[in-house]
Symmetry: C2
Subunit: 492 residues, 2 copies
């Protein structure tokens, strides 16, 4: 197999697109900005989704499902939220097509089937959900409500990229309702912790937990907490957000509850979400010029076995041995695949499974069997070792854990080496252009300065890290006093 990917050094952005398409994760579709998630990409998403779902349930949440459409009058009820999403909404205006009298065999929108009120295809579900919670909440006994939804949402983005920014994407959105402010804030940070744990322990991508500045907040939130990851090209990527919504939606939708003291109070809210965008983060955090590198805990296939046949008579011998091996792998719950197709050569298969990012490859031929060994290759390091068939499954099981850890450590060390403290404007600009990564710098705390920095450099404040060190300093742009450093970066 010839080289299939543009190299990262040549064109990182093209490398990413090549990888998504040739790795068979996703593809463009006939619908502007919408992607098709192919079976291999979807299997990856299923593993991520199932693990997240377990973690949501373990923290007391249940799933539900709310309508895809939001009537315009509900959509506009929370003004900031509406303003934030109005410019990128798909709008349903009609409910019927009819035969086009001027164009045989073609259809046209039936002008007589115009909706009285337009429907917005949900870009996020706060409005439709809080309009529903109004009916679910009467007294403190009805609280908290801890609901999550797995759904598709649509945001009419002008520039789209597979997984990273698509008009339609899949996500989960948690929407919780609480009696007190404290409880809602606790929920917001608890779910941030769940996201961080998932992204670090399962996706092997280290994150910085922080709070967004006012201008980067979710439309309608009082505070947006986030996890920020660093990609190999030095750009940051927001991997998940958890919003403390205060009483904004409760007030917009008149959701009050009767307290134990018999008073009417507005309900406190949170929402939090991660999406198929995480797959983009996963790819850009770990993969190389040969293809994907997937962490074992979420890889659809953890081990691929490739036989090295020599003549027809070797087949039953090797196949027989592999059967024993796959049974022992299954017994340990290891997801594996035996590729004994004879349409392509082993070398072609090796390249294919490197492209697909399968963490461990086992190869075995007749001579290996005579010696009771197989060859094992690690996808992440390329390292090859010869190991005994005895106790192979246990060895693989440990190796998978080792790979998981090793991928994380590598990304962590890269990330840590790419957080740079900078104290002057010149150094700031130079670092952004020459090294990229996160820049830890002082900022005077105003939206105006933040906006100017963005205009001049395209860098944004990714977050104010949680438990940030407080120190006196001067804003890199204005020289005005500052109490803490924040993290800047150019971002996806």
């Amino acid at each position: 197999m010839s080289k299939v990917l543009t190299s990262r050094s040549e064109d990182y952005s093209q490398w990413y697109n090549d990888l998504v398409i040739k790795g068979e994760l996703a593809d463009y579709s006939a619908v502007r900005g919408c992607m098709v998630i192919k079976p291999y990409g979807f299997a990856l998403w299923e593993n991520m989704r199932d693990q997240l779902d377990k973690m949501f349930k373990a923290t007391g949440h249940v799933n539900a499902y709310f309508p895809l459409f939001v009537p315009k009058s509900l959509f506009e009820a929370e003004e900031k939220n509406a303003e934030g999403f109005a410019k990128e909404c798909a709008i349903v205006t009609h409910y019927r097509l009819k035969a086009d009298p001027n164009n045989k065999g073609k259809l046209m929108v039936d002008p007589e089937a115009k909706l009285e009120e337009e429907l917005v295809v949900r870009p996020t579900s706060e409005a439709i959900i809080w309009n529903t919670y109004k009916n679910w909440i009467q007294s403190y006994r009805d609280l908290p409500i801890l609901v999550n939804q797995w759904a598709n949402v649509v945001r009419w983005e002008m520039r789209t990229r597979l997984f990273l920014r698509t008009a339609e994407f899949l996500w989960q959105e948690g929407h919780t309702a609480h009696a007190t402010k404290e409880e809602a804030i606790e929920e917001t940070t608890k779910m941030l912790d769940v996201y961080a744990e998932f992204v670090e322990h399962y996706m092997a991508v280290p994150v910085v937990k922080g709070v967004k500045t006012e201008s980067e907040r979710f439309a309608g939130a009082e505070d947006t907490y986030c996890i920020e990851a660093l990609m190999q090209d030095g750009k940051a990527l927001q991997a998940g957000t958890s919003h403390f919504l205060g009483q904004n939606f409760a007030k917009a939708f008149e959701v009050q509850y009767l307290t134990k003291e018999n008073k009417q109070e507005y309900v406190w809210a949170t929402s939090w979400g991660v999406s198929t965008r995480l797959i983009g983060a996963l790819i850009m955090a770990h993969s190389d010029d040969q293809g994907l590198i997937l962490p074992p805990r979420i890889a659809p296939t953890q081990v691929v076995i490739v036989p090295i046949y020599k003549g027809e008579e070797s087949k039953p011998v090797i196949d027989g041995k592999v059967k024993e091996i796959t049974q022992s792998l299954s017994a340990l719950g290891i997801r594996h695949k035996y590729d004994n197709s004879d349409q392509v050569r082993p070398g072609w298969k090796f390249a294919e499974y490197e492209l697909k990012g399968i963490p461990v490859r086992i190869a075995l031929g007749l001579r290996d069997l005579e010696n009771n060994v197989v060859e094992i290759a690690r996808r992440d390091t390329g390292e090859k070792t010869t190991v005994s068939i005895d106790n192979l499954a246990n060895h693989i099981s440990q190796l998978l854990e080792e790979i998981q850890q090793s991928i994380f450590e590598k990304a962590l060390s890269f990330r840590n080496n790419n957080i740079r403290k900078v104290d002057t404007w010149d150094e700031f600009v130079q670092t952004l252009d020459e090294k990229a990564g996160f820049i830890s710098a002082h900022w005077d705390g105003t939206s105006e300065t933040e906006e100017k920095i963005k205009e001049k450099t395209k860098a944004t404040i990714r977050c104010i890290p949680l438990n940030n060190t407080q120190e006196e300093g001067k804003c890199i742009l204005t020289g005005n006093p500052s109490k803490q450093r924040v993290l800047f970066a150019r971002a996806y």
Copy 2:
């Protein structure tokens, strides 16, 4: 707790609505015809979905995800399919809202953001998927494609009912591509068998497998296979369909493959789906005037434990014993809930869990503990027994299997008693009105007769059963010769 449901004999339709809403399965929403699936209803759907998903994967299928929107030009490509769905489509025509200059704080559709080509919100995905398969299929090596999608779809129905017929619903749609006609037909019937197995063995609802008549076929199919169930009120419900699509979509989207013999041939297709409608079938097949009756295999909670406290000092004693019991239930994978809240009395809880259809209730008080027993109540029969705490979990496990079986047998016997052979028109009309159920009768095989029977009686041909007995007879309406009986019923 007072009686909360309208009784079935009083008003079956109202009983159904009461049960869906008071059983907290689903609720109406602010969007015309769209429902909110509440956490309890969604937990039920998750169990059904997960089991189906396992069965799809065990038969070689993988999941993927395709866009929500279908450009009008693709939608109209397969003419029969387009014609079948054109009248009930939600259409996206714009992609932006803007501030309404005449109405402060309100939004309006931005006329400048009109789409060049309208987008249909998918009522089903054959068009968008076959337009994609065109790129996936070149030669026989690319076949078969065995893909399934879990998704929301929208059909702008005029009369909607919770779960049974909603504008938006959740479903799965399998879309497969094959090299030969035989293979595609084999896939169609294989998936029908999977549906039948799921509905009978998990939902405990017996079904008749059959083929639809031409006029009841899926728009764009060559043949539609179906499973038909019977509800308690004697009306039939189509529980799932599996379509042999021939080469219709391959021709509409120009999907050809190179055969082993180096010839270009059109690809053969199937599609098959079941939806949240199944929840409606489940409710109407089993439940009673006290509430839901859920089969143990898909019940979100299989066992509820209610303590009968007498004074504060009894609490730690009972709670301690229950802890042992719940541990032993967990060890056997039994889904259980301990309700020791003291805000309501045991009698209220009993009624609540009857309403929710939890298959087994365990109640225990101090005196029971002294005798080392608990009281067990079966939801399906109402039967109560006193059993020893020793070996309780095993007893419950067997009981759950027994209940599963018993619910199915009851529904089966009802269904079998309600298939009636009828040979004259008068008898046909009388049976429909007085007894309902399935009517097995001769039909002359023409769409005209079928249509007339429907106009006169609202009964439709539910299916021509598979492996149907061939016998000479006369059509009940026209007296024309017929070779077999078909199943008629009024249906949901």
